[in-house]
């Protein structure tokens, strides 16, 4: 062969992390999910090891969602009024490997659930379903500082992924996650320097870099997707070149961003394909965890991931 392939040799590797603890690990999950660990840019299988696939988490709420468009709610139907039935449907019917539960009901404007109620909810959910959990706050910082520690404690030793820590509000969450054996989501506003800085701040508190997942705050297709896309590419290049402070897997809130766009309300297919292309484009730039909403979109993206990895 005269044409010499151009192969990149990387010094660094993305940190690998396990979500969910089974019996041997002191938890009660029936399955666990591994992400990260890549020694290559996304999907360049011939250049380095890509030991784990991108994983899709179904997003559920602890309270009926208010602002979801019809094409999305009709995919779930009545179960949206009962978080446990909703979780059951995702796990049993839709074969979810893990769930991402948003504690929206704790938000002062959406139910104002107190920490005790939030903790009870998480305990009950852990009994009801046996898949690993991602737990997300309500979006109200001061309230989340009360309920997330309670949720963390209720899920002690179940090795959840909890978020989101941000630059000016991370200490409370880091302390809880450390105490209860979970992992943390570090959110930065489409800014690679803040992502790096926040990872350093968190690891300075004693939570190792290997327990951090970065939320690069994506935009949906047509809504600034390219910003996060490039931030993720840059972070991956830096990480593979040896920068350990950026070598975290990425979590992308694909469903949340997609289902507030105009296109998501412009017809069933338009909405579903919008979520699909947002997801697969971010897989292309390095997404490890995709939090998604529409079952039809999840099915297609899961099929795509299979086709990439079962060559």
């Amino acid at each position: 062969m005269e044409t010499q392939l151009v192969l990149e040799k990387w010094a660094g590797v993305i940190s690998a992390l396990t979500i969910g603890a089974n019996k041997e690990d002191g938890g009660s999950r029936a399955n666990i999910v591994r992400i990260g660990g890549q020694g290559s840019l996304p999907l360049l299988f011939k250049e380095g090891s890509i030991p784990n696939r991108p994983v899709i988490a179904f997003e559920i709420w602890d309270t009926p969602p208010q602002d979801w468009p019809d094409d999305l709610t009709s995919a779930y139907g009545k179960v949206l009024n009962d978080p446990f039935a909703w979780a059951d449907k995702c796990v049993n019917e839709l074969k979810a490997q893990l769930l991402c539960v948003r504690m929206q009901g704790a938000h002062p404007d959406f139910g104002n659930k107190d920490p005790g109620e939030a903790a009870n909810f998480i305990s009950a959910l852990l009994t009801r379903v046996k898949v690993p959990l991602i737990i997300i706050g309500s979006g109200d910082d001061s309230k989340d500082n009360l309920i997330l520690p309670a949720c963390s404690e209720a899920a002690k030793n179940e090795r959840c992924l909890i978020g989101c820590a941000v630059q000016d509000n991370y200490k409370t969450l880091v302390a809880s996650v450390l105490a209860d054996g979970h992992h943390i989501i570090a959110e930065s506003p489409i800014d690679i320097n803040i992502a790096k800085q926040l990872n350093i701040l968190i690891s300075d508190m004693g939570l190792s870099l290997e327990r951090i997942v970065i939320n690069p705050t994506i935009g949906a297709l047509g809504y600034g997707l390219e910003y996060a896309y490039s931030i993720m590419e840059r972070a991956r290049l830096a990480a593979l070149s040896g920068d350990k402070t950026l070598a975290s897997p990425f979590i992308c809130f694909v469903g949340q961003e997609t289902w507030r766009t105009k296109e998501a309300k412009a017809g069933y297919e338009q909405g579903v394909i919008w979520e699909i292309i947002t997801a697969t484009s971010l897989i292309q730039s390095g997404a490890d965890l995709l939090v998604m909403r529409h079952p039809a979109a999840v099915e297609k993206v899961a099929g795509y991931i299979d086709s990439l990895f079962n060559k």
């Binding site: 809504y223 390219e226 105009k262 296109e263 697969t280 993206v301």
Partner: protein, 443 residues
């Protein structure tokens, strides 16, 4: 990769004779590396060195023009592997395959649909680029369908056929539109090259393996064919991404001229979602042309939007002129909504105001193309900049009321803005989607 001054120095006579006007050959080499002087300034340079230097001044991925004089576009001429380094230059062409064994009426319907696939998004027109006619039956039918397509669309065309005679006849008919021929392989390349040469047409070179592909393009070059597009054939998605990445690297990192051409990827999926996912992957990863079959507008819009995202200039976000925009039949009573001059912010607000059917003014403040929150954090979207914009558009001559609506995310600006502008601030919804309801409840 560009040669360094030192690399160039090695190619020079090293006599320091000063004929070029510089004190030393090394100084001249440095100027050449910066492209500040022409090679010709040195009368003693060897012919061999000259060719090397001239070649390295050419773009690493050859720009190839598709289409005739009426409607054409450029492919290739890309310079980077990642879009954060520099803008990807020539957006991937999206084309549609039309099979010649379908009935005329069906084909007409397809062409009509393709012609209508145009979308406006954030002030840009998103268009499809190409129709590829594929031969599945006899030469006569291929010719007939080629004519049918040529007569019913202005889009550039591509001719897909394994039948040399059929390809030649169709090429002759389509010649003024400069069709792209598909494809030259190691077995037929001299015959295909003859057609490409006779009608001055661009040509796809195809081989499964990139080494074989490099041989093929060298063979075609030797026959005088230089407008080439590369295809590594049918592969699974991951292997195709690998090939496309490798072709780009060969051109950019190794200055491999034999592979320094735009590339082509054909998607062969019947499910529109699967087709779109695959097309999107190839657009993100370097394909110059992507061919699909699906014509659903929801599918095509998603692919074209991804292309728009990927090919946006990362240094210069899309922006609009900062000024006051009337929407609908505005009066002196119409509400005034404030946003930034980041295209996405403006157009998102615009489409919601239009949907509300309530005539309004949108004031787009100069935030250098930053979005609401980014601009607020960077202090480009604050009481001062908004007040300045209000003065500039002479708002008090346009509306009689004293109210401004600001985005919910910057509610914090209210106090300062009221003080500085003298207007009353009404905090609008956080998400643009809430605008119609908000405007309806305003009075």
């Amino acid at each position: 990769m560009a040669l360094s001054g030192l690399d160039i120095y090695k190619l020079l006579p090293k006599t320091n004779c000063r004929k070029c006007g510089l004190a030393t050959c090394l100084a001249f080499a440095m100027q050449l590396a910066k492209k500040a002087l022409a090679v010709e300034k040195c009368p003693f340079i060897s012919a061999e060195a000259k060719t090397i230097l001239e070649e390295q001044a050419l773009p690493p991925i050859k720009p190839v023009i598709l289409g005739g004089d009426n409607l054409k576009f450029e492919l290739g001429n890309e310079t980077v592997m990642f879009r954060h380094e520099e803008k990807f230059r020539n957006p991937a062409a999206l084309g549609f395959i039309i099979e010649d064994n379908l009935a005329d009426s069906k084909i007409r319907g397809q062409i009509e649909k393709i012609n209508q696939l145009k979308f406006e998004r954030v002030g840009q027109l998103l268009e499809v680029n190409l129709i590829a006619i594929k031969q599945n039956t006899g030469a006569d039918r291929f010719l007939e369908v080629s004519e049918l397509v040529l007569n019913n669309t202005v889009l550039p065309v591509m001719l897909i056929s394994g039948d040399i005679d059929a390809l030649k006849q169709a090429a002759a008919v389509a010649a003024v539109r400069r069709p792209l021929l598909y494809c030259a392989t190691k077995d037929n390349f001299s015959q295909i090259a003859a057609i490409a040469k006779e009608f001055q047409l661009p040509l796809v070179a195809a081989a499964q393996d990139i080494d074989e592909l490099a041989h093929l393009t060298k063979g075609l070059n030797a026959l005088g064919i230089r407008d080439l597009i590369l295809d590594t054939g049918e592969k699974n998605v991951a292997d195709k991404i690998w090939d496309l990445t490798q072709l780009r690297r060969q051109a950019l990192k190794k200055s491999n001229r034999a592979l320094g051409y735009p590339s082509l990827a054909i998607v062969d999926k019947t499910d529109p979602y699967e087709e779109a996912m695959e097309a999107a992957a190839y657009i993100a990863k370097y394909a110059g042309i992507v061919l699909i079959k699906g014509l659903e507008s929801w599918e095509v819009l998603s692919i074209l939007t991804l292309r728009q995202n990927i090919y946006t200039d990362p240094q210069k976000p899309l922006q609009i002129e900062p000024k006051l925009y009337p929407v609908g039949k505005t009066t002196k009573e119409s509400p005034v909504l404030i946003t930034t001059n980041f295209s996405l912010s403006y157009y998102t607000v615009l489409s919601e105001v239009e949907a509300s059917k309530i005539p309004s003014y949108i004031l787009s403040v100069d935030t250098e193309g930053m979005s609401v929150l980014t601009a607020w954090a960077a202090e480009k979207f604050n009481a001062e900049s908004i007040t300045k914009s209000l003065d500039k558009c002479a708002i008090r001559d346009v509306v009689v009321h004293k109210n401004l609506i600001i985005p919910g995310y910057v509610a914090i600006l209210s106090g300062d803005l009221e003080e500085q502008s003298g207007y009353k601030v009404i905090v609008g919804p956080k998400e643009a989607a809430g605008i119609p309801v908000f405007l309806k409840n305003l009075n």
